[in-house]
Symmetry: C2
DNA sequence: GGGGCCCTTTGATCCACGTCAATACTGTTT
DNA sequence: AAACAGTATTGACGTGGATCAAAGGGCCCC
């Protein structure tokens, strides 16, 4: 079927100024004129199919990526094959910051579903952020946020028990879905039990058992990847009321 | 006793340009003129006694800190009292990046020995890094390095066994001492077994036992906090030759 | 719309590390 | 030089989560 509306590449391109994710992403805090400058910088968009790599560990670092649609995981792989999921990323979040330090990426970024990213050439971002103070500051905040987030994961991996880890994970997902205008209590996980387990430092069986236990206790309703949180305070209690 | 040599504050102040840590720290990659500009920005130095806080979680964020002498740990504390050491920092490394994201620090920084830091007011650092490209880039690299380092710790906490974790820790310490001109094979740890354990997600007894085991196997000679690495390849083998 | 494969769940057993406890060492204070 | 407090080592025992195993379910691709 032919489209009656002529569509050009320019039409398809969604500018930062029009993007409904701008409050979560790099444009946050910029005025309209500054956003236009950022728009010029965002060279292209790239579609990544489910299970495909956005970049691989070792790839030379050229750009960072803002997620426009879909979601990703990042992981690190050891020589002996063991791997560790280091994070799950949703729309509006930025990928690739790991590459700045050595000019090469140090982890893999893999799409959990068909996704689309905005490619932000890093040299040009540094140029522009030398001119636009608010962009510079927002970029620094985004990097810092990643550091803080990682500390939270270290806390989780280093001193929490299995059910606490999963509760923290679910509450974190809920909060991030909420920030994107979705339901805080009902969502669809894009990752497998194995990937959740790798992220949380647990085996997939342990993740599955913890889900079942939460279900028995009436905290959540689980149906495969579909999650309904029934008792948010109950989950929060799991986190804090653990005598040291 | 009176000093015969007149000493002014200016004399005491050690400029970045004179600092033997500049290759590890913020000045890396700057030309002499740029280093002078950075020097002006580094307002003051601060001495922190052993066990004292450089900053606490919740403190408002004003500056980042470069370690001139001594060493620190950072930790995160949960409401129920559990805490997690998120890192150990040595001379030339930068502390406080966690505070950028919310304008408040999100962890505690505590001196492991009597130490001294250079205070770098953050607003002024952002100003100068808008003018000095090489400073901007070095700062971004430092933040990115922290992210990469954290991913390494997540790998360690999420998928390594106790002895692998300790081996990785010792090799990391060795490498960092080497970068500072100290012996790669013989050094003094500033932190307790409990702090190492917290960092590695292990109990202090497990850390102690792993040390003893390494000693039995001739990998290291341990005498309390004094460590002599006898078989570096052996320690490395512990890390990689673990069938998944 | 059917077939195959991956994902998930659940059970039984095992083991690495945690817990509890006692003792020894070390550096610091008086 | 003695006393102390914090730190470290070592042993005995318990347990949370890993491992091994098997069956069921759902989703994706053809």
């Amino acid at each position: 079927m032919k489209s009656v509306i002529p569509v050009t590449v320019v039409d398809i391109k969604v500018a930062c100024s029009q993007c409904n994710l701008r409050e979560l992403c790099l444009p946050f805090g910029l005025d309209p004129n500054e956003i236009d400058q950022l728009d010029e910088l965002v060279g292209s968009r790239r579609k990544i199919k489910r299970q495909q790599h956005l970049y691989r560990s070792g790839d030379s670092f050229e750009a960072i990526y803002a997620i426009r649609a879909g979601s990703f995981k990042t992981d690190v792989i050891l020589e002996d094959g063991r791997d560790q999921v280091t994070g799950f990323q949703m729309t509006g979040e930025v990928l690739g910051l790991d590459g700045i330090s050595t000019e090469h990426h140090s982890c893999n970024a893999i799409a959990l579903e068909d996704s689309e990213v905005c490619v932000i050439p890093f040299t040009r971002l540094e140029e522009l952020s030398r001119e636009v103070e608010s962009l510079q500051h927002q970029f620094h905040k985004i990097m810092s946020r990643e550091i803080v987030r990682d500390h939270g994961v270290m806390m989780l991996l280093g001193s929490m028990r299995a059910e606490e880890r999963l509760a923290a994970f679910l509450l974190n997902m809920s909060q991030r879905f909420t920030a994107r205008g979705f339901s805080p209590s009902e969502f669809h996980l894009r990752m497998t039990r194995d990937e959740i387990g790798s992220y949380l430092g647990l085996k997939l069986e342990t993740v599955s058992r913890a889900f079942s236990r939460f279900q028995e206790e009436g905290l959540v309703a689980v149906q495969q990847k579909h999650i309904r949180i029934l008792d948010t305070p109950g989950l929060k209690r799991l986190l804090n009321h653990h005598a040291a």
